[in-house]
């Protein structure tokens, strides 16, 4: 049980308790709502993308489990200031790793994402780890539908 206990200890508990970039983002120009019908998690994601395609600010509010909240928190930290296309690439990488399709290590600067790799054995929790990301992508795509992890 050590892996998961560590997962829950190291970063996730901290970020779920004190999520970074939590709260409304009045200056946002993109937004989306995400919903995990299986467990009821809900997340609102707001983004300020500038003319160069850089994600200047990201903010979120969530009623969700620790994994979902921490994932949103760490994601916003990770992607803030990055270009949209870089953000999308990081999501692709993240998605492959939490679903177990890719077992390579993260580059150093993304090491924080590593804590979520442990959920790959819990497909139902994978959705918790990816909800924030799916919602962000939906916001970036300007898709008005509610994001869902299915």
């Amino acid at each position: 049980m050590n892996d998961l206990r560590e997962l829950y200890q190291e970063l996730i508990i901290d970020h779920s308790r004190s999520p970074r970039n939590h709260g409304k983002l009045p200056q946002a120009n993109l937004e989306a709502r995400g919903h995990n019908p299986l467990c009821g998690d809900e997340i609102d994601m707001e983004v300020l993308r500038n003319a160069d395609g850089v994600l200047e600010s990201i903010g979120f509010t969530a009623t969700a489990c620790a994994i979902c909240t921490a994932s949103a928190s760490i994601m916003t930290e990770t992607l803030k200031g990055k270009e949209e296309k870089i953000a999308r690439a990081i999501f692709a990488d993240f998605h492959a790793k939490v679903t177990g399709e890719d077992s390579a290590a993260y580059p150093d600067e993304l090491m924080k994402l590593e804590v979520f790799t442990g959920v790959k054995d819990y497909p139902s929790r994978v959705k918790c780890a990816t909800l924030a990301w799916h919602t962000l992508i939906q916001a970036l795509s300007g898709d008005p539908r509610e994001a869902s992890t299915e």
């Binding site: 206990r5 299986l38 009821g40 009623t63 489990c65 620790a66 918790c128």
Partner: protein, 414 residues
């Protein structure tokens, strides 16, 4: 190892019947506290299914050859077993469905069509504690034909507010369909009062016995309902089979729902006529093996003895409740006057899904979520709960493992 003080259940012996219990999960002994979702299957059931495929593998009803005769005899004999399980006599009152959900959809559709169909303005009464299976089919019917759904409210204890019955159940009420035991928080509803009100106004009465069938005797004649339904996979049987029981004269008046082979008497392009009850409700190749397995599950339950199972589980739930109350940060959801099936609770500051994942690491299988009872969750102001539900094979050791795993969760989040 005397887990059986309070009952005549021999736990050690019973556990030997459930092969899936004999495994480790994340290196820890599996503690299965999710019987309300689906029960584990005893060897008798596994072997019944197996023997259908190894010996009597054939389609039923229309075959003259030996394998088909054997399959048909075994399949049809389960109707007798079900009638006996319910304490009734007439096996033609037993319709096989996939489970409660299909049975409720059958009822909603068939009560909504034909000569005696519900009409706009007719009312259907259900309860706030009900499972989505007893909500959504009626909502869909209401949307289709203008009937109106009324809901018996629920108080903070998780009890139906029966003082509202008089104003809810009126001359306009044509159907009263209610869950016997809440799968979400364990309340045993006072169905006598609900059905008494229903009968006063001549409404059709339906009991969702999904969560009572595995735990207590349910005799629809004594209960006084017109229809009763339960799922075989929650009474120690295979997935794929369940029962819609209905009073013969009620079933006879009900139009069929699904069409196809086996439910017809004659088919021509001008006009088709339907088979007799119960076959007119069983279109197409049924789940032969699952029905036969369900019969073995009911036999198993009755061999152990439902009164023994009930005494054992009641004692367990009582013990579980007092042990849970002793853990700091545990909040039990609902304080029903009578409890069966399960206890739901939350942990302060910890989301149920996180708790479930961590508890699973200790081998403890519980369920976290809305338990297909979203309206109840909303009423109680909770997005989700942790639910520990019991089966005949659970013992004090399982409760102790549950308690330990909750403590582990709390440590991690300390």
């Amino acid at each position: 190892m005397d887990h059986s003080k309070s009952s005549e259940i021999n736990l050690e012996m019973i556990r030997r019947h459930f092969p899936a219990l004999d495994q480790k999960v994340h290196g820890e002994k599996l503690v299965y506290l999710d019987s309300a979702a689906t029960t584990q299957k005893p060897l008798e059931v596994i072997e019944a299914v197996d023997s259908v495929y190894r010996q009597d593998c054939a389609n039923v009803h229309r075959g003259v050859h030996t394998l088909s005769e054997r399959a048909t005899a075994r399949y049809e004999d389960v109707r007798n077993k079900v009638a006996k399980f319910l304490g009734t006599e007439e096996s033609r009152e037993v319709v096989f469905t996939r489970g409660v959900t299909e049975a409720m959809n059958l009822l909603a559709n068939s009560l909504g069509s034909g000569d005696h169909a519900l009409v706009p303005g007719d009312e259907i009464v259900i309860g706030t504690l009900d499972h989505h299976a007893n909500i959504v089919p009626w909502q869909m019917l209401c949307e289709k034909n203008g009937t109106i759904l009324k809901v018996i409210p629920c108080d903070d204890q998780g009890e139906l507010v029966l003082s509202e019955l008089d104003s809810l159940v009126t001359d306009r009420t044509k159907v009263v369909s209610i869950g016997h035991v809440s799968n979400a928080i364990g309340t045993v509803n006072d169905i006598d009062r609900v059905f008494a009100a229903a009968k006063n106004v001549g409404a059709v009465t339906i009991l969702d016995a999904a969560q009572s069938a595995p735990h207590m005797s349910i005799n629809p004649i004594d209960i006084g309902c017109d229809f009763l339904t339960f799922s075989g996979h929650k009474t120690y049987g295979p997935t794929g089979a369940g029962v819609l029981w209905g009073k013969l004269e009620k079933l006879e008046k009900l139009p069929p729902w699904q069409g196809g082979g086996d439910m017809i008497k004659t088919v021509s392009f001008d006009r088709s006529s339907y088979a007799e009850v119960p076959w007119k409700f069983e279109a197409g190749t049924p789940d032969i093996a699952a029905v036969i397995g369900m019969g073995a599950g009911l036999d198993f339950l009755d061999n152990v003895g439902r009164s023994h199972v009930k005494a054992h589980e009641d004692a367990l739930l009582e013990s579980m409740e007092s042990k849970l109350r002793n853990i700091e940060g545990v909040r039990i959801v609902g304080e029903p006057l009578k409890r069966s099936c399960c206890i739901s609770f939350t942990l302060d500051g910890i989301h149920p899904h996180d708790a479930a994942t961590i508890m699973d690491q200790s081998g403890v299988a519980i369920r976290a979520g809305h338990h297909c009872a979203m309206p109840l969750m909303k009423r109680l102001g909770l997005p989700a709960t942790i639910r520990a539900s019991v089966g005949m094979h659970n013992g004090e050791d399982d409760i102790d493992a549950l308690v330990d795993s909750i403590k582990a969760v709390r440590e991690i989040f300390a």
